[in-house]
């Protein structure tokens, strides 16, 4: 693996003030961020957030309405797709149906003018890399979804692109296969050392695979960070809501002291917790994840009275809805004991949580 330059975190792609409008509709507001060499970078967001548009602008299929895109420091604005050392794995895979698998993989190399022997060696290597060497002479129609996915990867990786773009490549696969392909993708990225830019709307996929995630919403960047940072320290309500599950309670900001804020909550308690963008007198949300609430209450934590209003048994976990009078809290509880459900609907109960687990998010 090539580790030169990764110490100073060389930039593979620089997005500078890039925006995109279709007519009067602004699909992407001006965004600026960098994608580092050798990282697995994910663009995550709901459909229509502009993530695919961004990817297509890096690939050269769309022209930015404003701003510039740098690929390894060089401005690639105006360059047609075939002059960018960037390859794409398409959502539909887009394998050429009139070519065999090896012809598909060789296509980019031919266009780059690789000599025949070098080309054939590379194709063989790539097919081996994705464990498809025995299918070289088949055509795409004869493959299963997972196999097509592998060939699409081999084809896009063969020309050793500076950046590999992946447009929701797992969305067409069924659940089991999707899980397996996640690991395979991650392994491939490590093996090849190529920068991956991955687009998805599936937050679990993003958390599982990425080095860093860029959460996009409403055509702008909501947050960029490691999976843990995105989950644990969401920068706003959108991110906290989109990634994982959480309870939102309206909170009144009493005071802000650096990274912490003191708020009054509808649960009848006043607490001090890490904050983002909270302002005194302003509206804010207190967010607490279901798995961070203790059921039953633990000593030393903030405790609240309530009753069990509902229970959803999900195998590994049971989700409880606890009615505290002022608010309903969703609580997840691991089913460690052999019996699934430990609490009955209607049962009065005390729940608790630590103030450090709470996040205060300004509106």
């Amino acid at each position: 693996m090539d580790n030169n330059g990764s110490s100073e975190q060389a930039k593979a792609v620089e997005i500078r003030g890039v925006s995109k409008s279709f007519g009067s509709y602004q699909a992407l507001k001006p965004v600026t961020f960098d994608i580092r060499e050798n990282e697995f970078f994910t663009l995550l967001g709901p459909s229509g957030c502009g993530k695919t548009t961004l990817l297509r602008m890096i690939a050269g299929f769309e022209q930015p309405s404003g701003g510039e895109i740098l690929l390894r420091g060089a401005d690639i604005r105006g360059l047609p797709p075939h002059k960018r050392r960037v390859n794409t794995v398409f959502q539909s895979y887009a394998l050429f149906p009139h070519m065999t698998l090896s012809q598909n993989v060789a296509f980019g190399l031919e266009n780059l003018g690789w000599a025949k022997e070098r080309r054939e060696a590379r194709v063989a290597d790539m097919l081996r890399l994705v464990h498809m060497e025995q299918f070289a002479a088949r055509r795409p129609q004869q493959l299963s979804g997972g196999q097509r996915q592998r060939i699409a990867l081999a084809r896009a990786l063969a020309p050793e692109p500076e950046v590999l773009l992946l447009d929701e490549p797992l969305s067409a696969l069924d659940l089991k296969l999707r899980q397996a392909m996640r690991d395979e993708l991650r392994t491939l990225q490590r093996q090849t050392g190529i920068t991956f830019v991955f687009v998805t709307h599936d937050q679990e996929e993003a958390l599982d695979m990425s080095d860093r995630i860029c959460v996009l919403g409403d055509g702008e960047i909501q947050q960029i960070g490691t999976p843990a940072a995105i989950y644990e320290e969401p920068s706003n309500r959108f991110v906290a809501d989109f990634i994982g599950e959480t309870n939102f309670l309206e909170a009144g900001v009493l005071s802000v002291d650096g990274d912490n804020a003191t708020v009054s909550t509808p649960l009848g308690v006043t607490l001090s917790a890490p904050q983002k963008r909270a302002a005194v007198g302003g509206q804010a949300w207190m967010s607490i994840r279901p798995e961070k609430i203790s059921l039953p209450a633990r000593p030393g934590q903030i405790a609240v009275d309530g009753t069990i209003e509902g229970a959803n048994y999900l195998g590994g976990y049971t989700y409880y809805v606890v009615d505290t009078g002022a608010a309903k809290l969703r609580v997840s509880k691991r089913n460690a004991a052999s019996r699934g459900r430990m609490f009955e609907v209607g049962q009065p109960i005390k729940v608790s949580f630590a103030a450090e687990s709470v996040r205060i998010l300004g509106a």
């Binding site: 690939a59 050269g60 299929f61 047609p80 797709p81 075939h82 002059k83 960037v86 390859n87 794409t88 398409f90 959502q91 539909s92 887009a94 394998l95 050429f96 149906p97 009139h98 296509f107 980019g108 266009n111 780059l112 084809r155 896009a156 020309p159």
Partner: protein
Amino acid sequence: MSGNSDVRRYPGFGPLSVLFFVYLYLPIAVVVFYSFNANRIVANWGGFSLHWYSTALSNAALVGAVKTSLLVAAVATTLSIVVALMAALVIVRGRQVRFRRASETIVNLPLLLPEIVVAVAVLILFSELGLTSGLLKLMIAHTTFCIPFAFLPIRARLQGMDADLEEAARDLYASGWVAFRRVTLPLIMPGVFSGAMLAFVISMDDFITSNLLNSGGATTLPVYIFSLIKQGVSPQLNAISTLIMIVSVVLATVAFLVQRRR
């Protein structure tokens, strides 16, 4: 009554369909049957004979008309397929095409006008231009009305083709021309082929325009057949018709099989 248990079936549709196919093929069968009639008078059966085929094939006027038709059809097919292919690529694949719908309507204009109007239009045009070469007139006119028939199958094929494939080619370092030659063209080839077949048959089959333009010594096959019909029903005419039908069926079958191939 197993059919009745299927709610999708309707009684009577089957027999009606059988009658329909009889209606469709009976006249053709009659022509073929009488073409083998030895008797000069069509309706009186005089025994089996291939006589009329040999007279048909040695008929110089017929051979001349076939040659004219083939020449006109070849030129019209080639021109119309090139023009239609270019138009289809822009109309289906072009980005930010202004007046896309209007452009498509213009390409399909000959389908929206009754053919006699198209024929009158080109007749008047050629008379205003003072064009006298019958062959040239036919080639121009046939190219015009063949364009939509060449266009529609190509358009359908292009629309059915995933645009991702062209993007994938561009992504894999193919220039626009290479992407067209190596990905788009091979994949829409069945459409191009059926468009060409259709244009060819439409040109070979044309009567209205060719008849109205019939001057300058260029008589096409249908115009010649028309002149034979005017002279009255004859066994030789049946033989000629049968020969034409055989050629048509072969062409249609090839076109059909190509279209079916995925």
